[in-house]
């Protein structure tokens, strides 16, 4: 039996570690706290790679060469891990050793934009009906619509506009729609951390 010097009576004692592979490593692996943190970290892993499996082509099957440095970077930047989670992974990849391979095929970008649009559509609880995501690396837009009928789920659309919108000032920009119609361009909002 290993005596654990870190507090671990309650779940709350572990909150900071629940999103930090680095902190998880400080807990002995045969302790329940380690497993609980591991469960949490796996959720971040699966949320990324189950939805964007293409990224595993860059990282290798266990995803760790992306996951670990990204989580550490996200920790430094205090990313909120809101709907924009996937977009931030792309932002990180763009300044990582994976950059050239990332930019050589736009399937990665399409995948993260669709994933973030879907996550917004399922998690946002504001009054908006849809979100439009744009990126400086493409003219295409991705729209996420919330569930609008009891028989449907959320819907994701890829749009190739005839007249492209101005590029967002940062890598990504977004705006939200108050109706189920894409009929306005109020300008780009930057991602919140």
């Amino acid at each position: 039996m290993i005596l654990l010097s870190l507090p671990s009576r309650t779940d709350r004692d572990l909150y900071p570690a629940l999103m930090s592979p680095e902190l998880n490593a400080k807990y002995p692996t045969d302790h329940k706290a380690f497993v609980r943190i591991d469960v949490s970290l796996r959720m971040y892993w699966h949320t990324l790679f189950d939805i964007c499996p293409e990224l595993l082509e860059l990282s290798g099957l266990d995803g760790m060469s992306i996951f670990r440095p990204f989580m550490a970077w996200a920790g430094e930047k205090k990313l909120a891990f809101d709907w924009s989670y996937y977009l931030w992974v792309y932002v990180w990849l763009r300044q990582s050793p994976f950059k050239d391979r990332l930019l050589a095929d736009d399937k990665y970008l399409r995948s993260v934009m669709a994933a973030s649009a879907a996550r917004w559509a399922i998690l946002d609880r504001g009054r908006d009906c849809g979100i439009v995501i744009g990126c400086a690396d493409t003219r295409n837009l991705v729209i996420g619509w919330k569930c609008r009928s009891v028989r449907l789920g959320r819907e994701i659309e890829l749009i190739e506009p005839e007249e492209p919108l101005p590029a967002p000032p940062d890598i990504f920009g977004y705006f939200t729609l108050q109706t189920f119609e894409l009929d306005v361009f109020p300008g780009w909002q930057s991602l919140a951390r």
Binding site: P16, L18, D30, V35, V39, F81, R125, S149, V150
Partner: protein, 275 residues
């Protein structure tokens, strides 16, 4: 005991209809904030059965008042249109220092009681409806304090508990919270959840509330041992399934629950009327 099924998104619409038509369930539980862009009248007509409303993302322990007021205003439209059997929410943490958990966090029952109680009072007041709060599938030892916390919370706020039986089984397995400690909570509660769980991938194994597998033997034994404490007039039990959604598997579990609790009073009455 009326049995229900959790309806979280449109993909399971046809299946939920079939569960109702074939008499496997008596009501549906909507994960209501998933449907905030659906017209309340459309939702009210969706199923020919009573409904419960389960809130997932009010984040009432964390959100500021204007956000909660706006959330509640929309919730109210659905309460008014659907006249639900109950409205329920969760006592848990969605974030730490502004950063979201993807596996939600349990509160510290001993140090956070007062602040949670005040939030519960305020949230029920904003919604204008009694709310039943769900217990967490505890992992860490702090979970042993949950039964006393919920008992006191009910007493001091008038709130109900939506008692998730398999969450209590997970807590029992993970941190040894005795089933007996929940007796008063179960006796007071009208509304229940039950689902499958699975083990963590790494040792020492912990049990995780996954809603993806069949009811476990110890969950069924718990329900059997406390059958008379669970069952009461007006009681409901929602069978939760969010993954590996197979009609036959779900029906098999619902049949086990029917065998255990028998046909509900309400349905027996319906059947007598239509006979």
């Amino acid at each position: 005991m009326r049995l229900g099924f959790n309806f979280t998104l449109g993909d399971t619409y046809d299946m939920a209809q079939r569960l109702i038509a074939e008499g496997h369930i008596d009501y549906c539980e909507f994960l209501i904030d998933n449907f905030f862009c659906v017209d309340p009248d459309e939702l009210a007509k969706a199923f020919d059965c009573p409904v419960g409303l389960h809130i997932m993302y009010s984040k009432f322990l964390e959100a500021d008042r204007p956000t909660l007021v706006d959330f509640a205003a929309r919730l109210r439209d659905y309460i008014d249109a659907l006249n639900p059997i109950y409205v329920s929410d969760h006592i848990l943490r969605f974030s730490h220092e502004g950063r979201a958990f993807f596996h939600l966090g349990e509160i510290d029952y001993s140090t956070e009681y007062e602040s949670v109680r005040d939030r519960v009072v305020a949230w029920q007041d904003i919604v204008g409806h009694r709310i039943h709060f769900e217990n967490y599938p505890s992992i860490m030892d702090g979970g042993r304090e949950a039964p006393a916390f919920f008992e006191r919370l009910m007493k001091e706020t008038g709130a109900g508990v939506l008692f998730d039986a398999s969450n209590a089984v997970c807590a029992h397995r993970n941190c040894g919270t005795p089933f007996e400690a929940w007796r008063n909570v179960i006796a007071e509660a009208q509304h229940f959840h039950v689902a499958g769980y699975r083990h963590s991938l790494v040792e020492p194994f912990i049990s995780l509330d996954t809603h993806a597998e069949a009811l476990a033997p110890d969950t069924l034994a718990f329900l059997r041992d406390f059958r008379s404490v669970f069952d009461k007039p007006g009681a409901t039990m929602t069978y939760e399934r969010d993954d590996r959604i197979e009609f036959d598997d779900i029906v098999a579990d619902l049949k086990l629950l029917r065998d255990l609790f028998g046909q509900p009073e309400e349905r027996r009455h319906d059947l007598a009327l239509s006979a």
